[in-house]
């Protein structure tokens, strides 16, 4: 993997787990797999420390182990760096669960994400205690929401056993199960949302709704990550749309919307047969190829300008094109066209192919220089930019926090003191006195830091969104 990716992984692990774990993880990143003694030797840490680190990493699913090739009695550990890169996405997972299933579910997922993998009972108990703290008046244990798709196996626990656990009884219920978050399911939701919002923009809202219905029907017959779905008959789609009932216009013009979706140049859906009133297939692989082209073109436009985006799309549509033709078709002055083309070439967004007329090097030879785009290369390059951007954001966040460390600590101390005093029912002027320890200037500085950190966090989420799209493209282009 690339250096930038390695730096990013190290930074993430440093932020979440600390320096020692980071050393071990960084060590594992550089190789495909290593035995325990090797790790101890290279990191120069104590054996017990390394074991503890590995234990933590395994619990969070970041390190896997298998039998070593040299010695069948020893396991070798390898780092799954893709799992490390999922950390910035946790906020979005929680948001998704909240919108789909509610607050309680969000708390459950949060607890699970925080502890990596944990027994179901302890997760539920911890979540309920937190919920109780939030909603002080609530006496009953909230409904147990088992989301079967999100977790591997639903535990069959009884409420009675759970209440006992909560009240401090040390017995562990009999049918307890260790849970871990099923990231693939979350990614499936994200993927669907991307496709639906793209259709909404392209055609209109009703078409977006139709896309959502079609995707739901798709899961009945097809595995979630297939590049192309099995055929879906129109009859089923029609029934599903009528069941939803919120969109009368869609129901009325269903056939027409299907036709428009079919004929649209984005190729998300194609009609394959006429039996059963028509059979439609969802081309997920094709859809993501289109979407990642759109993303890459957008990146080119923002980085180099709109004229450069025109040249880029021109080269894409003609596949192989000469310099003179670029300025002819794109209607850009010759000098500017050359400048743009060479800039794109410099940053490896386009490539050059030489066609020699004769192999001899004597005399003036007419060699054709053709420009073309290798989309896999470009997507990988954009991913690298994403890694770098994410690393920079994290570094900057850390830097801001360190700069104002003293101030932040002071504020935290004052906050905890005032909270204590409030609980003890101390008089108001004592609390005010404490709060005045923070001067208005310091308050302003703290406010600034708070805004900066929030903004950087938000930017990280957006960059991560982009990363997700590009990673999906690479996954689909690899699985033919």
């Amino acid at each position: 993997m690339s250096v930038d990716c390695g730096i990013l992984c190290s930074k993430i692990i440093l932020e979440h787990f600390g320096g020692v774990v980071k050393t071990v993880a960084h060590d594992l990143f550089k190789v495909s797999s290593k035995t325990l003694s090797n790790i101890v030797a290279t990191t120069k840490l104590q054996r017990s420390q390394v074991i503890e680190c590995l234990r933590i990493l395994v619990r969070y699913g970041l390190v896997t182990y298998k039998v070593s090739l040299q010695n069948p009695k020893i396991p070798e550990y390898s780092l799954s760096y893709e799992k490390v890169l999922l950390f910035p996405r946790y906020v979005r997972y929680m948001l998704l669960v909240k919108t789909l299933y509610g607050d309680e579910a969000e708390l459950l997922i949060e607890e699970l994400l925080r502890s990596g993998s944990e027994k179901a009972s302890s997760i539920i108990v911890r979540a309920t205690t937190r919920l109780k703290e939030i909603k002080k008046g609530c006496k009953e244990i909230p409904q147990l929401i088992i989301k079967q798709e999100d977790l591997f196996m639903s535990p069959s626990l009884s409420l009675k056993e759970l209440t006992q656990m909560e009240e401090g009884h040390p017995e562990v219920p009999a049918n307890d199960v260790t849970l871990r978050v099923n990231f693939d399911r979350f990614h499936q939701e994200f993927r669907d949302n991307i496709m639906i919002s793209a259709i909404k923009r392209r055609i209109d809202d009703n078409a977006g709704e139709l896309m959502r219905v079609i995707l739901q029907q798709m899961y009945i017959r097809t595995e979630a990550w297939e590049p192309i779905s099995n055929p879906i008959p129109v009859v089923e789609i029609r029934n599903a749309v009528h069941k939803v009932k919120t969109n009368p216009r869609l129901a009325q013009h269903l056939d027409q919307y299907l036709k428009v979706l079919d004929e649209d140049s984005s190729n998300f859906i194609t009609k394959v047969a006429d039996s059963g009133g028509g059979q439609y297939v969802v081309n997920i692989r094709e859809a993501f190829i289109q979407l990642s082209w759109a993303a890459v073109e957008n990146i080119v436009e923002e980085r180099f300008g709109s004229k450069a985006a025109r040249v880029f799309r021109l080269i894409k549509s003609k596949h192989f094109i000469e310099q003179e033709q670029i300025q002819q078709y794109a209607l850009i002055p010759a000098k500017e066209a050359k400048l743009i083309t060479y800039r794109l070439l410099e940053e490896c967004f386009i490539q050059i192919q030489e066609l020699r007329k004769s192999m001899s090097s004597a005399g003036p030879n007419k060699t054709f220089f053709l420009f073309h785009i290798d989309i896999d290369q470009v997507v990988k390059k954009c991913l690298e930019i994403c890694y770098k951007a994410l690393t920079n954001s994290m570094v900057r966040r850390q830097h801001e926090r360190d700069e104002h460390k003293r101030l932040i600590e002071k504020q935290q101390r004052i906050e905890s003191l005032t909270a204590n005093l409030r609980e003890q029912g101390a008089p108001a002027d004592q609390i005010d006195e404490l709060e005045e320890l923070l001067t208005p200037l310091e308050n302003e500085a703290l406010e600034r830091v708070r805004i900066m950190i929030a903004r950087l966090g938000e930017a990280e989420l957006r960059v991560d969104d982009n990363m997700f799209l590009l990673q999906l493209y690479l996954m689909y282009s690899n699985c033919k």
Binding site: R202, R310, A389, A459
Partner: protein, 311 residues
């Protein structure tokens, strides 16, 4: 010379000029050329030797041209305008004929040199003379501005040299192209929006939002913003650039008309570009510790400052 001989030669002269006229008339009536045999048939009273003399004289004066068609010698009458250079010498004539051959596209000086085998100085002189006589002109090529091509005076240069409608005096008219671009986009977008409002069902809306190249051309023509007469092909080039800007899409129907339609892009904004690092020009020189690093990056500082100011 005796009087009789003189008389004979004068009579010969007058009759030879008579024959000249007859041969010229014959040549004019046969624009594809006459051979020696044809002349002998038409003017039988002209003896062969005299005919040869007359023909040589006419050749030297430039009234007729000598060609070799399949082993037979053919004489063609020179067209009227070429008679102007009958005063000039052979070199001029050769150069002129080479330039004439090149037609619309014109010919580069070096190519004239290789074809005529003249030296550079001689060629320069000849070209100057011809230019002064206003028989040829030099046209600057749009592709390579230093290159001059020569062509006949009255011909219009081909569009590959001047660049077509977008070039005015060898300068690419960027603003003109831009204005047309904007207008075409506006037209297509208006059509799309009105289609969405008026038509309730999606297929009709889609069909209504299509516009053919001809419709757009008529619209641009009616607007009257262009001083140069634009062809439909030119408007189609502009519409193609709209397609390359991903603002429009192109469709070819069964009867080969080309239709264009305004489209929204599939993705609105891409997350990476909303962060300064995505568009940073020195991104690849940036590292965690170094001259360019995120902790002290001025782009990040000013970007964060914007949010602090607006909050």
């Amino acid at each position: 010379m005796s009087a009789a001989d003189k008389g004979a030669s004068t009579s010969q002269d007058s009759s030879s000029s008579d024959f000249e006229h007859r041969i010229i008339a014959l040549g004019q009536s046969h624009p594809n050329g006459i051979s020696d045999k044809d002349m002998a048939k038409e003017i039988p009273e002209l003896p062969a030797a005299q005919r040869a003399v007359i023909i040589n004289k006419l050749l030297a004066q430039g009234y007729i041209d000598l060609f070799n068609q399949g082993g037979v010698l053919i004489y063609k009458i020179r067209s009227a305008k070429a008679n102007v250079i009958k005063g000039g010498d052979n070199e001029e004539r050769i150069v002129f004929s080479i330039i004439e051959e090149a037609g619309n596209k014109g010919i580069w000086m070096r190519d004239i040199r290789t074809k005529s085998n003249l030296s550079a100085n001689q060629l320069n002189k000849v070209l100057k003379i011809l230019e002064n006589k206003k028989m040829i002109k030099a046209v600057k090529s749009v592709a390579a501005s230093k290159k001059k091509v020569y062509m006949l005076f009255h011909l219009d240069p081909d569009s590959s040299i001047t660049g077509g409608a977008w070039y005015c005096n060898e300068d690419f008219e960027a603003e003109f192209v831009d204005i047309l671009h904007q207008q075409c986009l506006k037209y297509l977008k208006q059509k799309w929006e009105s289609a969405k409002e008026k038509e309730p069902d999606p297929i009709a809306a889609k069909n209504f939002s299509y516009a053919s190249a001809q419709d757009v051309w008529k619209y641009i023509d009616d607007l009257g913003i262009s001083k140069v007469k634009l062809s439909e092909h030119d408007v189609e080039t502009i519409l193609n650039t709209l397609v390359y800007d991903a603002r429009a899409e192109r469709n070819v129907t069964i009867d080969e008309t080309v239709l264009f339609r305004y489209v929204e892009p599939l993705l609105s904004v891409v997350g990476l570009t909303q962060f300064p690092c995505g568009i940073c020009p020195v991104l690849f020189r940036c590292s965690i510790s170094g001259m360019v690093r995120p902790a002290t990056c001025t782009y990040l500082t000013s970007w964060l400052q914007e949010y602090i100011d607006s909050a």
